[in-house]
Amino acid sequence: MAVVTYLEAIRQGLWEEMERDPAVFVMGEDVGVYGGAFKVTEGFINRFGPERVVDTPISEMAIASAAYGASLTGMRPVGEFQFMDFITSAHSQIVQILAKSNWRWGAPAPMVLRGPTGGGVSGGPFHSQNNEMAYVHTPGLKVICPATARDAKGLIKSAVRDNNPVLFFEHKYLYRRIKEELPEEEYTIPIGKARVHRQGKHVSVITYAATVYVAQEAAELLAKEGIEVEILDLRTLLPLDRDAIRETVEKTNRVIVLHEDTKTGGIAGEIAAIINEEAFDFLDAPIVRVTSLDSAVPFSPPLEKAFMPQVEDVVRAARRLVAY
């Protein structure tokens, strides 16, 4: 077993899928000779040629829709957005064309749109966004936000094999900060299944992507106070794993929903509603949201830190819940 970064895990997953299935190809801005802004497809063009590693004009609408068009012929395109901040440029195509295709006219769209998401790197308001929620609210899509290298690889492979348009958000803060040993043999991770990142019994933190590690740090601090935190890493945001959410609530009876996305209209609301529906009687305290503030993502480090949810915020919330 080799130690592999989150970034390399995604690269391996894509490469393996392209080796396995010639119908898989990648397209996007600067994905060819340059290998992509974050080097996810570095070297791919030398192996798969410019036919299957397609550099595009700066045209997110065209990337999303041409990928879709190719998928109508049975290809399995993987489109890259240089930053997931630019997914908004193709928003209309994603929600109107792609998401409705199978429902409207029975035309499946086996395709992936992927790219770097999230903050914490002083990217400023246009290179740090968490834009997943608009798509969680769009029936017909699948939305994946992995937190670990293992999941990133297994889920990108599942995304490529899925017969629906899958949006794959890669947290850029994790790209080179997260490493772990990965199995030598091939594996996939199923879409739609959450993962218990840490077992605990007093408070559940339901979260995903980079804030899994915020929760983890908080859990380590809280453990010293005897508060055992369970961390549920959602991994897939659409479809959500309702069973896993119910199970952790039934176990701990106290819930923090933690996300880097902004609060109002963020996925914490959806999870609150699901908990109400699935496990209301198990709740011993109100569900607490720990999220970014309701503004754009600031550039300057002191501002960005104040904006994003911090370990202390989780610690405080957990103490409050346990004392409720």
Binding site: F48, S92, G140
Partner: protein, 416 residues
């Protein structure tokens, strides 16, 4: 980049080859002798004509490629297009149509003759009015009728209305979406997918004088142009976008001027002349098959009805309608076929009767068919697991370096 242009016909042409001010071939035998300006009249703001409207109607321009049989078939299909819409109009007035009804009166030549130039494996990206093109591509009038009535048996099982349907398996028709211009990149993608499977195909996309203003149109067609994909953008310049005259939609004279900026061959033609429409599309299709890439066709014609049935189009000056009424594509084609000595009145009547009988049967079938089961409202939002076949055969493996290995990424990339 190929410099080969869409050519004008060398033989049979009824008039000399024209060229637009920016050097684009203009196949028309007449220019539209008027334009629209706005004015105040007694405190009301509206549109007026500047120029003449009573110029004589030229003959059609004989086709370079269509023989007698194909010409007659195009005629028949135009008639199908019109009769189907006449049926729909009656059904609308009988309140059998649900929601809005969009008609293409005056545009039948543009829909039918262009789609007729496509091969079986080529794709079509219709707009709402291209109901005739969908028949050419293999759908039945009942399909459109059932769509408008929201019937269970319609191609979208009642989920969508009108020409918002398609088929990716056999007919190769993209189900239009309302957001104008969005199909163009999709067609480019179809061509890209086919090329990866070793096939240069053509994909014909329509867009209106209004719809071509959208960003998706631009991104999609630029993408097709730079990737040399066989997208044929047929701009149906029918003078109006809903109530908006073209004078308020763009500042260039001919929309084909935009072909220069896309870097693809362009041509201007008379969209009421099925021969011009067919020939231009045919040449563009051949370019696509030869791997020479995208083409741009501007067809000038007129939307003879309102935007949809609820719209009486009072904003259109009456003389404009009269001018174009004299340029009815079907009547002119009938005269052309007769002048060619290809058809007589009896044969015309037989075609007409055949179309009428068929249309009545289609309407009866559509009307009698059931409404959908409410339980079907929100099914099939997702496609289940399982293999999806490649449409054009196996993916071609190119000269790329088969032995290259995945190496660890070198540089830190954009942000550390």
């Amino acid at each position: 980049m190929s410099t080969k242009s869409l050519t004008a016909p060398e033989k049979n042409a009824a008039a000399p080859i024209g060229v637009s001010p920016h050097g684009i071939p203009d196949w028309r035998l007449e220019q539209i002798p008027f334009h629209i300006e706005s004015e105040w009249v007694n405190g009301e703001f509206g549109y007026k004509i500047v120029g003449e409207t009573d110029t004589p109607v030229p003959p059609l321009r004989p086709s370079k490629y269509l023989d007698k049989e194909k010409s007659i078939e195009i005629y028949r299909l135009m008639l199908v297009n019109r009769r189907m819409e006449e049926s729909l109009e009656r059904m609308y007035k009988q309140s059998k149509v649900i929601g809005g009804l969009y008609l293409s009166l005056g545009q039948e030549a543009c829909s039918v003759a262009s789609a007729f130039a496509l091969g079986k494996d080529d794709w079509l990206g219709p707009m709402i009015r291209n109901q005739g093109s969908m028949i050419v591509k293999g759908f039945q009038p009942r399909d459109t009728m059932m769509q408008y009535m929201g019937k269970a048996g319609s191609p979208t099982r009642g989920r969508e209305s009108g020409s918002h349907y398609g088929d990716h398996r056999v007919h190769n028709v993209i189900a239009p979406i309302s957001h104008l211009g969005d199909s163009i990149s999709v067609l480019a993608g179809c061509c890209l997918g086919a090329r990866l499977q070793g096939r240069n195909i053509a994909a014909l996309g329509y867009i209106g004088d209004g719809g071509q203003s959208t960003g998706p149109t631009y991104e999609g067609f630029n993408f097709a142009a730079v990737k040399k994909l066989g997208v044929i953008l047929l701009v149906e310049h029918n003078q109006w976008a809903y109530s908006t005259p073209v004078e308020m939609q763009f500042a260039c004279k001919d929309l084909a001027d935009r072909a220069l900026g896309y870097g693809v061959p362009g041509v201007i033609l008379d969209g009421t002349d099925a021969n011009q429409v067919y020939d231009a599309t045919y040449e563009a299709v051949q370019r696509a098959y030869a791997g020479e890439g995208a083409s741009f066709i501007e067809a000038k014609l007129m939307r003879m009805k309102g935007h949809a049935m609820h719209d009486p189009a009072n904003y259109v000056p009456a003389a404009v309608k009269e001018y174009w009424k004299r340029r009815d594509p079907i009547l002119r084609y009938e005269n052309y076929l007769k002048a060619q000595g290809w058809i007589n009145d009896d044969e015309l009547k037989a075609i007409s009767d055949g179309v009428n009988t068929w249309m009545d049967a289609e309407r009866d079938f559509a009307e009698a068919s059931p409404m959908p089961d409410p339980a079907d409202a929100a099914t099939d939002v997702y496609k289940e697991d399982g293999p999806i076949a490649l449409k054009y055969g196996p993916v071609v493996v190119h000269e790329a370096n088969q032995r290259a290995q995945l190496k660890e990424s070198s540089a830190p990339g954009h942000y550390k």
